[in-house]
């Protein structure tokens, strides 16, 4: 009995220490972001600033075109997520419910390309986009990301789990393929779709290398790219840098805490099926 209590206490201790390590960077980011420049450099570190300097956020916001970056990030995230959702639903339906020549070969080829690291695609895609004249435009940030093999695979698996008889029943009820997809399959696949949307939105909001490469002007940068250039401008003003970082991280944290069930379960399922 005592041993059980002891081992339980040990488990909590380890988990709590681990959690502190996980949360500390976030906490420290936030604390620093509301410090005065003097407090930032103080040793030993100040844990609770004397007064909360919220104006750091305002200052950081105005030092670089963060408003523009935010708008860009929102546009890119929303459009590429919505676009991917549509292409994924249509393609997953075709791969799971339609019978056509070359279906299995095509699907295998697509799965095979998932093996290739995205970095390999970088250069030819850059060339393609510059030939199209899309460099430094929204098209370059959005269009290459409007379809994802991974999402198609994930949704196809989900669709395959929906009984075939439903489509027969719908057909007899006078519901055509396209309508069946949107009125029956899509509502039923809601959990999978939410996962796909969330993972895509997070990935899109946080993506860095691609926006870095295809944007040139300040006006086209997304938040992460903007932040790296701001970090040079902010220099040693860490309170401003932390304020900016907080602003970028916060939306995803809020999204995460509202819908974490879908994210975590989605990752667990997608991961296991891999």
């Amino acid at each position: 009995m005592q041993r059980a209590a002891f081992s339980k206490g040990f488990i909590y201790l380890v988990l709590i220490i681990g959690s502190v390590c996980m949360l500390l960077p976030f906490a420290w980011m936030f604390i620093t972001s509301i410090k005065s420049p003097g407090e930032v450099m103080m040793m030993p570190p100040v844990w609770i600033p004397e007064d909360f300097k919220w104006e750091n956020y305002k200052e950081a916001w105005s030092m670089a075109p963060f408003a523009r970056y935010t708008i860009n990030s929102i546009i890119v995230t929303v459009l590429s997520t919505l676009g991917e959702l549509v292409t994924t639903i249509l393609a997953a339906y075709a791969f799971s419910r339609m019978h056509f020549y070359g279906r299995d070969i095509l699907f295998s080829i697509l799965l095979g390309t998932m093996m290739v690291p995205g970095e390999v695609l970088l250069i030819p895609n850059y060339v393609t986009l510059s030939n199209l004249g899309w460099i430094d435009q929204y098209q370059a940030l959005i269009i290459p990301w409007l379809a994802s093999i991974f999402s198609i695979f994930l949704l196809r698996q989900f669709f395959l789990g929906i009984p075939q008889e439903l489509s027969y029943a719908a057909k007899i009820d006078g519901c055509n393929n396209f309508r069946f997809l949107w009125t029956i399959m899509v509502p039923l696949a809601k959990p999978a779709l939410i996962t796909i949307v969330l993972l895509k939105a997070i990935g899109s909001w946080n993506s860095f290398l691609w926006p870095l490469i295809v944007t040139q002007s300040k006006e086209m940068r997304t938040l992460p790219v903007g932040l790296t250039s701001f970090s040079t401008e902010a220099g040693i003003n860490y309170e401003l840098l932390m304020a900016a970082s907080t602003m970028i991280i916060l939306p995803m944290i809020i999204l995460y805490f509202c819908l974490q069930r879908y994210i975590i379960e989605g990752v667990a399922k997608a991961g296991i099926k891999g």
């Binding site: 029943a169 007899i172 009820d173």
Partner: protein, 364 residues
């Protein structure tokens, strides 16, 4: 609506799932498609529904050829084995769905759906989701959804197989009641011969894609056209005893014994291929006596007596052939007793050992 199938065939790759089916179904009849799994009964149903395109042959609904008519335009309703209710819609929405697809105004659709729900006695469950219903209730919803468009033909694909034994009997009575109330031509797929016997006006029995027999259930039971039909119908299964036919005396001798029986039924001699035959007698058609000297009978040794309450099943051996006979419960017999068995008048079947066809002429 009357249905006519002419030389209907379905081929999947090299498998002939249905082979040259010719059937005529009268308006308002309930016909069971019966057979073991893989016999092509579901394929036939799916062709009738328009979900499969036949490889060859013709299907007529009324006088119209429907081979190339889309499912939704065939005027059919269908109930699936797993009911295929839309899980995210309420009962009412499920029943209304076909009307919605047909662009019936919402108000009218709702009225009709409620009317239909009342007919199948689920009027009090309209706001539930399918998951919150029992198997029998889901079944009723599926029937309501199938009937709401007032189809001319109702197709049921093994609708009772997912229910437990008690509910199965209740629902099959329900289906019969609803079918007769609506007066709709109905085709019912099942692998359970008892189910088919109890519910149908006519039974169509299939095996390996081949048509076997199409007749009234009692007729199929009393006069199976071949050994397969004889064996498939009835429980306990029909006794099949190898015999040798004596053309001169019109009698049969049970192989491996001296037991002889006179054949009084008229035989179709055109079908006889040799003198080897199988005597088919249903368990309840034997008459057992303990006395000697009963004419036209043979003797057998009792091995086992099973009492099931209502009646008694006697397992016995004649020569080296096992037979089963149902007798009245007050007939007292013990293992190792010798009994005399005779066969009720006109209740014996003789199957040709080679062609497996029934040689006894039917009533016609």
């Amino acid at each position: 609506m009357k249905i006519q199938l002419k030389e209907l065939s379905m081929k999947f790759d090299d498998v002939l799932a249905v082979n040259g089916l010719n059937v005529h179904i009268n308006k308002g009849e309930l016909v069971s498609l019966l057979g073991p799994s893989g016999c092509g009964k579901s394929t036939t149903l799916f062709m009738l529904a328009g979900l499969y395109k036949p490889s060859s042959g013709e299907m007529y609904f009324g006088d119209t050829l429907v081979n190339n008519v889309e499912p939704e335009n065939r005027g059919i309703g269908m109930v699936f084995q797993n009911y295929a209710l839309y899980p995210h819609m309420t009962v009412l929405k499920n029943i209304m769905f076909p009307l919605k697809m047909a662009k019936v105004p919402h108000k009218k659709a709702e009225e009709k759906a409620i009317e239909m729900a009342n007919l199948v006695q689920i009027g009090h469950l309209l706001d539930r989701k399918p998951k919150q219903l029992s198997g029998g209730q889901q079944q009723r919803v599926a029937i309501a959804r199938a009937l709401v468009k007032q189809p001319q033909l109702l197709l049921l694909d093994e609708p009772l197989s997912n229910l437990d034994a008690r509910l199965r009997i209740e629902m099959r009575e329900e289906i019969r009641r609803i079918q007769q109330e609506v007066g709709i031509t109905t085709i019912f797929v099942t692998h359970d011969q008892e189910e088919a016997m109890s519910i149908s006006d006519k039974v169509l029995l299939m095996k390996d894609g081949q048509f076997q027999q199409y007749s009234k259930p009692q007729e199929m039971y009393d006069h199976p056209v071949n050994m397969f039909v004889g064996k498939f119908m009835g429980n306990p299964p029909i006794n099949m005893i190898p015999v040798t036919f004596d053309h001169k005396n019109l009698s049969i001798q049970i192989n491996g014994t001296d037991e002889k029986l006179k054949v009084t039924s008229k035989l179709n001699y055109e079908l006889v291929s040799g003198n080897q035959m199988l005597l088919g007698v249903r368990a309840e058609d034997f008459v057992l006596e303990k006395l000697e000297g009963i004419s036209n009978s043979f003797s057998a040794k009792v091995d086992l007596v099973e009492r099931t309450g209502r009646d008694t099943l006697v397992h016995a051996t004649v020569g080296n052939h096992a037979i089963r006979a149902l007798v009245n419960q007050d007939f007292v017999v013990k293992p190792s007793n010798i009994v005399k068995l005779s066969i009720r008048k006109n209740r014996l079947q003789l199957f040709d050992a080679e062609t497996e066809l029934n040689l006894v002429l039917g009533k016609e």
